[in-house]
Amino acid sequence: MRYGLVIDLGRCTGCGACAVACKGENATPPGVFWSRVHIYETGTYPHAKLRFLPTLCMHCDEPACEKACPTGATWVRHGGIVMVNNEQCIGCGYCVWACPYQARALNREEARPYHPAHGCTPFEKLGYVAHAKGLIEKCTFCAHLLDRGEQPACVATCPSRARIFGDLDDPESEVARLIAERHPRARLPELETRPKVFYLGGC
């Protein structure tokens, strides 16, 4: 089994619900985004267009971050999900430099509350345990939700159903059929990292 994600740029409205749902599910502190949407424009008036490019960890089959990790903290779990073992991570940041998709970040300081004058909320106190200083931040495809049979938070919340998630190795899955029939593109294929996140449309 290999989990994969197809993002249909023709359906994405740039609302950012994916990024906000990710924050809610993973309690990432201020300044940390495992899921982003780049908003930009192309063309000139009156033919200009507003564009959206959602990004996250590509969960590559040949992850450059894994090769760069000197301690083996970066590993690939069942389903092909690229993970970080916090116990083994020494916070060197090599993986951050190695990732060509800028999908990783190193926590250089303690997690701050969103409303500093009021201290951490109970939610933040619980969630920030996984975001300590010196640890690496990245998307996990919400592996804890997958273990419960649920979809990643960004997929479940997308109001325009621009994200299709599933098993790439199952030819009957929607995600596999989309790839077979509509040939979505991966980012930076020339690097041969073999991402498992693909993009449809958007030209």
């Binding site: 409205t13 740039g14 609302c15 950012g16 619900a17 990024a19 906000v20 924050k23 809610g24 201020p30 985004f33 982003r36 949407v37 780049h38 908003i39 930009y40 424009e41 063309g43 000139t44 008036y45 200009a48 507003l50 969103y114 409303h115 109970p122």
Partner: protein
Amino acid sequence: MGALDVPGSYLASDAGPSLSPGPDGVVEPKAEAAPRPWAFPPSIDLKEYYPHRHTSPFLAWKAILDPEKYGIDYGIDVLITYAANPIMASVNPDEAIAAFRKIPFIATIPLVFDEMSQFADVLLPESVIVERYALIEFGHHVVQAADEPLLRVKGVLVQKPAIEPLWTTRQADDIYIELAERVGFLYGRGGLNDHLNRELGLSDNYALELDRRYTTPEIMDRILRDHFDEEHSLDYFDEHAVYPRMLQRKEAYNFYHHPWGATRYPIYFERLLFFGRQLRENLASAGLETIPGQDPEDVWQHYQALPRWCGRPDDHAAPEFDMLAVNWSTPQWRMSAGDQVGNAWVQEFVEVNDPYEYRILINTRTAREKGLADGDEVEVQAWHGGRTRGRLKTTELVFPEALGFPSNHGFKSRQRNPVTRKGPHYNELLTGDEGTIDPVSAGIDRAPRVKVTKVERRRGSDRRP
């Protein structure tokens, strides 16, 4: 012309028999199209003078400040607001503040510390969303969707508290019920329970008893069992968040209830003409020539049976007011209600990812012609209305004569979440003054003529003036 309210087409109005014929076979006006009944002295929001208006809090502030002008012979002793912010979410904020100063006692049920909280004598804070109940029935209102089955979905969404309230907050409904009991208008005919029975459409079997105090979940349970069925009582929503029910086509489409020939639709607005005549007679009976504050020459031109071009209130603005300020909802912030702009996660997402939010958008070529550049701090002043400041974002995405203001930002209260104070406040450019609003609907002009000027700063100064 297209097709509406016939099988296979959009539903243009409520599902079900919503557009029913009147005695003459012509569809009866509903909602704002049906004028409010006349009364004098008028209500404080002057709806009797603007009988087709949707909502007009800015008229209430005028009436409170100058009751004599509007024929009002009573004062306002108490104002209670719930999760509303008429200072920042409407127009003429200075008049709102002046009116509040005249009201002896103000209580507010706020979601957050906002401008209304600042003016309140008493705060009755409501629990946050995960601590409170909610019931939203859907399928009753205008639905425009591409999928025909979606048009026929009618159902209910129920939210139950996930946790106990952390602080001494309460459900707003329970606050109102307790206030009604303490003040003495909860029970009996004409009391709050009686009112709720009518407003909630509760049938006799499920109607609230008039001599008993109910809690919010008890009332919700009655609504669910009455409007849906016993199986979908409040208990059902321990395991479910939503109960969608697919209407039969015959239930959904008005056409089935009133097929060909049963209802005729007006082509002209003759009813508006007649309603205008009636309003004129009503005003005359109170000794008034026109709606107070409105030009008598102009008002009745708007109550016509045929469409006509009225022009805009700022058509004759000075030449330097050469741009139109426009505003729109963004996917993140569809409205300012519920303090959506204060959501720290959404705010951070926008700040990091969206280069347009919190900015004033100007066409690249227009900016060049005016000697303005991306990032410039500018002041935007309306011909009518006020002024606001913000930073420019040059873009190819806006019309060359328009200045774009995404969402609603620039809130004022220092007690507020600081993230909500960023950016320009579009509403400051608008006005609800008579002579600029539509005399029929009391609608405000939403694209005012403005001029834009660069804010020059003294060297070394980084303070906002």
